[in-house]
């Protein structure tokens, strides 16, 4: 076991996979000599060379497309986008190409590419360094969307994503990079995609969340514990495909749900989860499903304005009280 930050866990997962499989490559802007603007690829080019850890030009269509083409020819590429906000130029390559390759070739070809990017707000990043993009991509059939909340899951999920023969969008909340620190198992620690994690068992209300929502949930749960409220926290880990069985087990147990994410509310991932819960678990519910998300706005740079838009542990705590009061 090692005590690592989330970004160190990402770095370790990349290192281990690069060592283990000569077909794994990493490409992206500043990943090589600099080691990534957040240090996620620190030391990798020194040890694996300029070709396998490649400094790409500012060309996101090319970064995604070259990764896809390399995968056709037998590599297992990890394509990094400097910020989730800059995945969008590659939207066509990811949505129209990567996500369709297996389907459109009737299963003859596949696309084992991991598209990685730091996402999320709370770092004075403004509109273009703060976005949560999982909603757009979770809507695409044939693409998996994964967001770890802690270092151990970051390592285990990233290793699994790299070994998955399908395209995976792997989002790492940038504020969690150094804030989240925890025990990370050594060696072959693999966390399966599509399986949620029960972070904390509870009896009164379920918080369904992922990524930065998990620390919010832990803080909110501790705040209400004094009043005797027992909060169950489910970390989806994979946003798509999400673990329906785990959600169902939890809702049948608590009958009250708050869904929390940093992405905008309107047409956000919580809308899908709420529809699933309301549609499939209606008779177990004692209250309407409550969602916590950003207030349908771009993320402003000025600190007070950003706090007015982006959710927080306090807001999740208020939502828990709201659902309990119904």
């Amino acid at each position: 076991m090692a005590l690592l930050t989330l970004v160190e866990a990402v770095n370790l997962a990349l290192r281990e996979e690069l060592e283990r499989d000569p077909r794994v490559v990493v490409l992206g802007e500043d990943v090589g000599r600099k080691g990534g603007v957040f240090g996620a690829t620190r030391g990798l080019q020194r040890d694996f060379g300029v070709l396998r850890v490649l400094d790409a030009p500012i060309a996101e269509i090319g970064i995604a497309g070259v990764a896809i083409g390399a995968a056709f020819a037998g590599l297992r590429p990890v394509a990094e986008f400097q910020f989730a906000d800059y995945v969008h130029p590659a939207f066509d390559q990811i949505v129209n190409e990567a996500a369709t390759i297996s389907y459109r070739s009737n299963g003859e070809w596949c696309c084992p590419v991991v598209f990685r990017a730091p996402c999320g707000a709370g770092v004075h990043g403004g509109l273009y360094h703060s976005q949560s993009i999982e909603g757009y991509y979770a809507h695409v059939p044939g693409l998996k969307v994964v967001i770890p909340s802690n270092p151990a899951d970051a390592k285990g999920l990233l290793k699994s994503a790299i070994r998955d023969d399908n395209p995976v969008l792997f989002l790492e909340h940038k504020a969690s990079y150094r804030r989240e620190r925890g025990e990370v198992p050594e060696g072959e620690h693999l966390v399966p995609l599509g399986v949620a994690s029960l972070v904390r068992a509870g009896t009164h209300v379920t918080v369904v969340t992922y990524g930065t929502g998990v620390p919010w949930a832990l803080q909110a749960a501790d705040a209400v514990a004094a009043e005797g409220l027992s909060v169950e926290i489910l970390d989806l880990r994979t946003v798509q495909p999400y673990d329906r069985e785990a959600i169902a087990r939890s809702v049948r147990k608590t009958s009250r749900v708050v869904i929390a994410h940093e992405a905008n509310l309107a047409f956000g991932p919580g809308a899908e989860l709420a529809a699933f819960i309301a549609g499939e678990l209606f008779e177990w519910l004692d209250a309407p499903v409550v969602r916590v998300g950003a207030r349908d706005c771009h993320v402003p740079y000025a600190e007070a304005q950003e706090r007015a838009i982006v959710p927080s542990a306090d807001e999740l705590e208020a939502a828990i009280r709201q659902v309990m009061a119904y």
């Binding site: 060379g49 300029v50 083409g69 020819a73 190409e97 009737n106 070809w109």
Partner: protein, 346 residues
């Protein structure tokens, strides 16, 4: 074999090469090649014409064409190693596909969206070629998106120490797309073993090339640190030689090449298009005059091949095409219950 280049060293830019000169009388070996290519061109043309008949009969929804492009595709594809080199086709690449080993029956299975369509199981529009065996990665309907894929396959060769080249076939309109720019940027910087083969027929559906590219297409190569060559795409020996030269460069580690092959589009973009709306009768007549099939036929006759043999080849091509269509028509349709299969690799 190329050694790993560092990003710090500037790429060496080779001078633009002059268009290839072609001798008028083929050597014995060349004659043999030309005869074989002519037979493939006849088959491509027969399949093409039969596809349009099938479309007009309402048995298929969307029909594309490679008429006028055959010499460019077949000559160039003949310079590759099928099943080793990675070939990224587009929807007009039918003649190249036949040259590389795709069969007429497979093409008709695709046209008729049959269950055993080997490209897509009926999921894609016709002529979206795909074959693992032949290393033809599946292509989409989007224009130019496969160019970065070709760069990626070239990158894979460098990483794995392999000798294959990656080829991307595309039209003149594709050179306007961002994917073209980014693919050539990657390939030029990293000296990837990629050949970008543009079949310039002067049109992107109805939009002339002057409205797609502000400069001659082969001249763009200089901006990407690679040689650019413009050739007569209606001469299969010219396209063969240009591709062979580019392949030799790439295998020797000297990097990518942009080839612009001037061809003609003899019929409309697809059966959903009517080119008489934007191409005059005079222009279409001029295009017909450049049809690579009668031109090659004349060349073979001039070289001494008997007309009866050429006529027999043409009849055989039609018989092959008709037989392939009949077998495809008898094949089963896809099962609706399989509509969601293969969304993920199993």
């Amino acid at each position: 074999m190329a050694s790993a280049s560092t990003a710090g060293s500037p790429p060496s830019v080779r001078p633009i090469e002059a268009p290839q000169a072609v001798p008028s009388a083929p050597s014995g070996e060349e004659l043999s090649l030309l005869a074989g290519w002519y037979r493939t061109m006849l088959l491509a043309r027969a399949v093409d014409e039969l596809m349009w008949i099938v479309g007009a009969q309402g048995k298929a929804h969307f029909i594309l064409t490679s008429r006028g492009h055959e010499a460019a595709q077949i000559g160039s594809a003949a310079a590759l190693r099928p099943g080793y080199d990675y070939v990224f086709t587009y929807y007009r690449s039918m003649a190249a596909a036949l040259q590389l080993g795709v069969t007429a029956e497979e093409i008709f299975l695709s046209v008729l969206a049959k269950r055993d369509d080997p490209f897509a199981g009926g999921r894609q529009l016709p002529n979206h070629f795909s074959s693992r065996r032949l290393r033809l990665p599946t292509g989409s309907s989007s224009v130019a998106t496969h160019l970065p894929h070709a760069a990626g396959a070239g990158y894979a060769a460098r990483v794995l120490g392999e000798e294959w080249v990656a080829v991307a076939y595309f039209g003149d309109g594709a050179t306007a797309k961002g994917d073209f720019h980014e693919a050539l940027t990657f390939a030029g910087i990293w000296k990837l073993p990629v050949i970008f083969f543009c079949e310039n027929n002067g049109y992107a559906i109805s939009v002339p090339v002057e409205l797609e590219s502000p400069a001659p297409i082969y001249r763009k190569a200089e901006g990407y640190g690679m040689p650019g060559v413009r050739i007569d795409g209606c001469d299969p020996l010219a396209t063969y030689r240009a591709m062979a030269q580019a392949v030799a460069r790439a295998r020797a580690g000297e990097g990518p090449t942009l080839i612009e092959a001037e061809v003609v589009r003899l019929v409309s973009h697809s059966n959903a298009d009517d080119q008489s709306a934007y191409r005059s009768a005079e222009e279409l007549a001029a295009a017909q005059a450049r049809d690579p099939l009668p031109r090659l036929r004349a060349r073979l006759l001039a070289a001494g091949l008997p007309a009866a043999a050429l006529d027999e080849w043409a009849a055989a091509a039609w018989a092959t095409a008709e037989d392939a269509l009949a077998r495809a028509q008898a094949a089963p349709d896809p099962d609706p219950r399989d509509a969601r299969r293969h969304l993920f690799a199993e």
